[in-house]
């Protein structure tokens, strides 16, 4: 599994390939990772770099971008429609794009509505589903619906043939496996015996001996009106079953295709690392392609320098003596205090930098490409920022 060992570098690509090489050969890149690790920004930066250096039409499908990033990509108020990032925005950032950069936001509610219209047997059924209060709740709130719909929309966009590469930013998902299993779960949902059972009474009003206790208990807990609402909703939804299941299977097939790869994003904090490791092993178990691991916001390499650490230790110990020779800088007590602060701060940061370096080594074998992105002073909200960040991990 592992390649030849190389000295670890804190930024840029490591291991057996580069992101540039990986993305040049793929049509779909799905970015995943814990919330708060900078997944959206990494997805946007990867798409930007692909449009700059690989050419072709590149689309970034994003879920919940920060306002200013959305503005930078020209996404304001455009919702579910793909829009081209203006060439001027790229030129202003000092780059000459070889290809086209497109961006789209995922609007869960609208995507669900489109899906219902597509799969409902007729316009009347579609309208009844769309107007059902339970449907409103399912499409808006139900966490798995976000996951499924992101994959569904990806499938649709890929099939349109308009893009050479699609980079997808996934919803921040609590449990990574839910998202991978989303198409399969949706298919199960529609084909399950329980669905038939729930919708049974509305159809026949004959409750058999086996299911009677279930209805009695459910009635007692939830009230029969609510239960009937549920039954009606499922009955309507069931009309979409054949188209839907077929579609879910196609989506799943696409995710397993060689043209699709996954990019796991994480920072080197304990909790996101655990999520990333879990995700990498889930990808392996389910035979998805773990193309890249991107380590975001890593501390700079100079913090690992052992010579600098020795300097810091001596400065801390000899601060008062050193201050005597540095009276040009200020009063000796102040100089000594500053030297001690500086030294201690370095040693503190080194503890964290060493932990990060070790985590990087431990995680590297799990993905084909491992790339690190340095911690920038400010958050990134414009195209030039995306380019700056992208260059740090691209080749």
């Amino acid at each position: 599994m592992t390649g030849p060992s190389r000295p670890s570098r804190p930024s840029g690509a490591q291991g057996r390939g580069s992101l540039e090489q990986l993305l040049a050969a793929k049509e779909i890149v799905i970015c995943c990772g814990a919330g708060g690790v900078g997944k959206t920004t990494i997805a946007a930066a990867a798409a930007t770099m692909a449009s700059l250096s690989l050419g072709g039409s590149v689309l970034v499908l994003t879920v919940d971008p920060a306002r200013r990033l959305a503005d930078a990509l020209g996404l304001e108020a455009l919702g579910n429609v793909e829009t081209r990032v203006p060439v001027d925005a790229l030129k202003k950032a000092g780059v000459e794009p070889r290809g086209e950069l497109w961006a789209a936001m995922l609007d869960t509610k609208k995507s669900w509505d489109e899906l219902v219209r597509r799969h409902a047997p007729d316009a009347l059924t579609a309208r009844r589903i769309l107007e059902n209060p339970l449907y409103q709740n399912v499409s808006g709130r139900f966490v798995q619906s976000h996951e499924y719909i992101a994959m569904e929309r990806l499938y649709e966009l890929h099939r349109s043939g308009r893009y050479d590469l699609i980079v997808v930013d996934t919803p921040p998902t609590r449990n990574a496996i839910d998202f991978l299993a989303a198409p399969e779960r949706m298919a199960d949902f529609f084909s399950s015996r329980l669905l038939r059972m729930l919708t049974g009474p509305a159809r026949s009003r004959v409750i058999n001996l086996a299911t009677r206790p279930f209805y009695q208990a459910a009635d007692r807990i939830l009230g029969s009106q609510f239960l009937e609402d549920i039954a009606e909703f499922f009955l309507l939804f069931q009309t979409m079953y054949p188209g839907f299941v077929e579609r879910a299977r196609s989506v799943e097939h696409l995710l397993h295709d060689r043209r699709t790869t996954f990019l796991v994003v994480t920072t080197l904090e304990a909790a996101p690392v655990r999520e990333a490791e879990f995700f990498l092993s889930a990808l392996a178990d389910q035979r998805f392609h773990a193309g890249a691991l991107v380590l975001n916001k890593v501390l700079p390499e100079y913090l690992l320098d052992p010579a600098a650490a020795r300097t810091a230790e001596r400065l801390s110990a000899e601060a008062s003596a050193a201050a005597e020779a540095l009276d040009k800088a200020g009063p000796p007590e102040a100089v000594a205090r500053v030297l001690r602060e500086v030294a201690e701060s370095f040693l503190n940061f080194q503890v964290v930098a060493k932990r990060e370096a070790e985590l990087r080594t431990e995680m590297a074998p799990a993905a084909e490409v491992v790339a690190s992105v340095p911690s920038f002073d400010t958050d990134i909200f414009d195209v030039s920022g995306l380019v700056r960040l992208g260059r740090a991990f691209w080749s």
């Binding site: 814990a34 919330g35 208990a217 459910a218």
Partner: protein, 316 residues
Amino acid sequence: MTTPLLDRRLLFVTGKGGTGKTSVTAALAFLGAQKGRKVLACEVDAKGDLADFFEASKVGFRPREVQPRLFAMSMSTEESLQEYLRLQLHLPFVARIGPLARAFDFVATAAPGVREILTVGKLVYEARERHYDLVVADASASGHVVGQLVAPKAIDDLVRVGPVHNQTGWMLDILGDSAVTGLVIVTTPEEMPVNETIELVGRVRAETNVDVAAIVVNRVLPELFSHSDEEVFERLREPELAAVVAGVAGGPVEAVFEAARLAVTLRRTRAGHLDRLRDAVGSDVPLLFLPYLFARGHGLRTTAQSAEALSAELGY
């Protein structure tokens, strides 16, 4: 007069992913127990991390004492349902009805708020029954917590009759009582988490009746220099003096100076975000600051350190 944080009985801890929600939950629970309260810490998302902060093995639905007076549990909606059916509806054998158990998962997936109310309901129940002095929940991240907190109201609207309807009433009372219940939002002093916190405070105030009890600002970098000390630092970085420093230290100083520069810059950009946060949420919500911990990892030791810092911030 607002009720002090640890004098409430039910705290929901939320925040943007990656801000340290679980470690703050652990620190609050640890501090509560140190101050003599019997505490229940509950992990809602069941990622299995909470126990790590107490160096304990993984906890389940049944609370286990992991530190003196501190009990930990992990939420399970299925077990919560079974407990509910047994205690509230006196349906002891219902779990044995095969279809019900499976149908539950199904209904909970499709019907709004069922899963959420079993989570929130269990926590509110524990607070009401006073099995513990303080219940601290590591709740869902900011994107989903509002959905959890409004679940009793949503159910109340959908289910018009029956025992479920009757029980949402007292839940809403407890959640809306700021002497009992509070929401704690965890953030870091960075742009995105601060934006999300401001947005969440707005949503919580508009959509729920739950009181925002505190905002915990986690991972605050230390202020290295006073204003005059920073001038000294800038002079030391000039080539002539830097060479003297290198001579005394007997080694290169560029990296050491660069690291200090980084710490100062990070601290400064972050201070701006905190000013924005303060302006946006108003002065009635206390901001509690927790220092960045330069540690090898997280465990009981860092939990105790965070608890100590919280204790100072709360004025104990």
